[in-house]
Symmetry: C2
Subunit: 363 residues, 2 copies
């Protein structure tokens, strides 16, 4: 067995996440990118691999004397490590994100003034809290979503359902003047009240209601929307349930759903499992998967909610490291709604989740 | 039935492509975008709907007196048509493509000199011909693919298989200095010879061989590559066969495949069918679907190869209208090669294809 295969095996054993030699190579290549060393969160961002896989890989590399880290959290290769990556022919990660559109492919200049207004109006927004696994996206992300939906004909003159809205997409959509109506279903009272208050103040066609997606979708919202958007928790069970609720809300064929899915909390195996579920259980096509579309503003509770056994992990991020790919799905012929029963499910924790629970407790 | 539903029904009957009211709305919204009227090819590009669906929609709108077209191919709404779209609340198509990256999300400045060199070196490239459904992409598209593969760790120091290469991705990859080795399998002798000649002249690690993908993949290429890239014909049978050959060439888990899929020749229903096939037959995840990534240079044989029953179709395109979405797939755990038998299949023609055959003959 090669040394890299050995590292992959150790990481897989500790994380219970399938880990290939290519995964290890990729993480090492991200560690090599910073000339003066790398910050853990930058590596997670660049690697687009599960958080725990990256943490354990750095952990194993450290145990094997290939990297070391200083107090400020910088991770550097030791001379043995430098020798190793040279022999293994691993190259520094390349990175070509478009500076104009932040890799979304969308020109947001038309929205510049609106983005400022949105930021001013929502300065007093509720803080992200751990109870509901919150963490909201940047304003440019919010308007990236608005632009994408508008461009695809899913917003202007349409009815939009927002399932969970700590991102305040509903208010942004309302402020754009494009949708006919926006409905928010949200579990957090603070957000329900905030969105309704703002919508009233600004005279927007936006209404928020308290809702836990483990309940059935209220009858009046079944088959009532052109478009849904959501940012689901990433256990397979939660993903399936959120898709069900979103799809149940759509009018029929040719409607669209938008949602984010990360690589930091979902392995390729989970992506595969999710996609298979999505296509086999529902009559939809995936029309877009745009990596790095959703940029999350760092949230206050990060370090207290995650593992504290590695010092290089317990450092404040220097960038908005948490990203997700934007999915768009479209209902195709044969689509005729989905079952709308109440259903319990594990929402937030599996062995790929960021929130720390010992692996043995997750199943 | 609404008038739009009636139009959808007529279009579906003529094209045998499932057509929804939303499809018709979308095509009308694209027709509305040009202030001075619209060119057919611009509408196909903007609508991202099957070519034949767009043609028949315009045809029906014309028969119903809602649009008319002048000799130069410009399609305009009649006053009855203007009234109609106003009543139906259909808005002009919005379009926010990033001007810096042409919607690929990638900053190609690092490749600017190389793109010029590539264009100079390949000025004498073989012309696209109808026999193999050819049509090559712009140089910026070629280097978009190089950048994407490089960024994802699928190119540098790796072995790349190019299945069909009228785009000359192999030469571009070789000129970038990144891959260890590039192999091209190509049916067109002109391209095999051209690529081998150029590779020798420029001293690139690129080799081309004649190959028809209906044959088994040659033994020495089975399980031999990190990455494959291809631009498949778009019948479901051809898509499946090309995926098989590409995947058979990969070393194992964590390897990647890249390919384009259009909306101009593939309906959402076909996308759905293709994705289901891909995920159910092979152990892969779809990691990216980037719309509008691949821009094709207009090819000489277009107008002679397509339907000639509509005058608004038989006009020279004013832009590179033919685009495709870039897919990236990654092999996941459990991937252990695929069957490699010879297999015949219909390559180019179904009722969504651009190349014209009467619908009754296609099945």
């Amino acid at each position: 067995m090669t040394r890299i295969a050995g590292i992959a095996e150790k990481v897989e054993k500790r994380t219970r996440i399938r880990t290939t030699e290519k995964d290890i190579e990729n993480i090492i290549s991200c560690l090599l990118k910073g000339r003066e060393g790398s910050h853990f969160w930058e590596v997670v961002y660049l690697a687009q691999k599960p958080f725990n896989m990256v943490a354990e890989t750095v952990g194993v590399l450290k145990e094997e004397g290939l990297v070391e880290n200083s107090e400020d959290g910088m991770i550097r290769f030791t001379s043995a490590g430098q020798e190793f990556v040279k022999n293994e022919k691993i190259y520094p990660k390349r990175h070509y994100a478009c500076p104009h559109c932040e890799r979304r492919g969308l020109d947001l200049r038309e929205f510049d003034d609106l983005i400022k207004r949105f930021e001013n109006e929502t300065e007093d927004r509720p803080k992200a809290i751990l109870d509901y696994d919150q963490g909201y996206v940047t304003s440019r992300t919010v308007f990236g979503r608005i632009a994408l939906m508008a461009e695809r004909g899913d917003l202007e003159g349409k009815r939009l359902l927002v399932l969970g809205d700590d991102d305040l997409v509903s208010l942004a959509a309302g402020m754009s003047g494009l949708p006919e109506e926006v409905v928010v279903l949200e579990i957090d009272d603070r957000l329900v009240n905030y969105i309704n208050k703002k919508a009233k103040e600004l005279n927007l066609p936006v209404k928020a209601f308290k809702y836990d997606f483990r309940e059935s979708l209220p009858e009046e919202f079944v088959g009532a929307f052109d478009t849904f958007t959501t940012d689901p928790p990433e256990t397979i069970e939660a993903l399936e349930l959120v898709m069900k609720r979103g799809l149940a809300s759509l009018k029929g064929e040719g409607c669209a759903g938008y949602f984010g899915l990360t690589k930091a909390e979902s392995s390729m195996k989970k992506w595969n499992e999710f996609q298979r579920m999505l296509l086999n259980k529902f009559e939809v096509a995936i029309t877009d998967i745009i990596e790095d579309f959703n940029h999350y503003v760092n949230w206050d509770y990060l370090l207290e909610s995650i593992r504290d056994d590695y010092s290089f992990v317990q450092v404040e991020p220097r960038l908005n490291w948490y990203r997700s790919s934007m999915y768009r799905i479209e209902t195709v012929s044969g689509f005729a709604g989905v079952d709308n029963k109440p259903q319990d499910c594990e929402l937030y924790v599996d062995n790929e989740a960021l929130i720390y629970k010992p692996v043995s407790l997750t199943k």
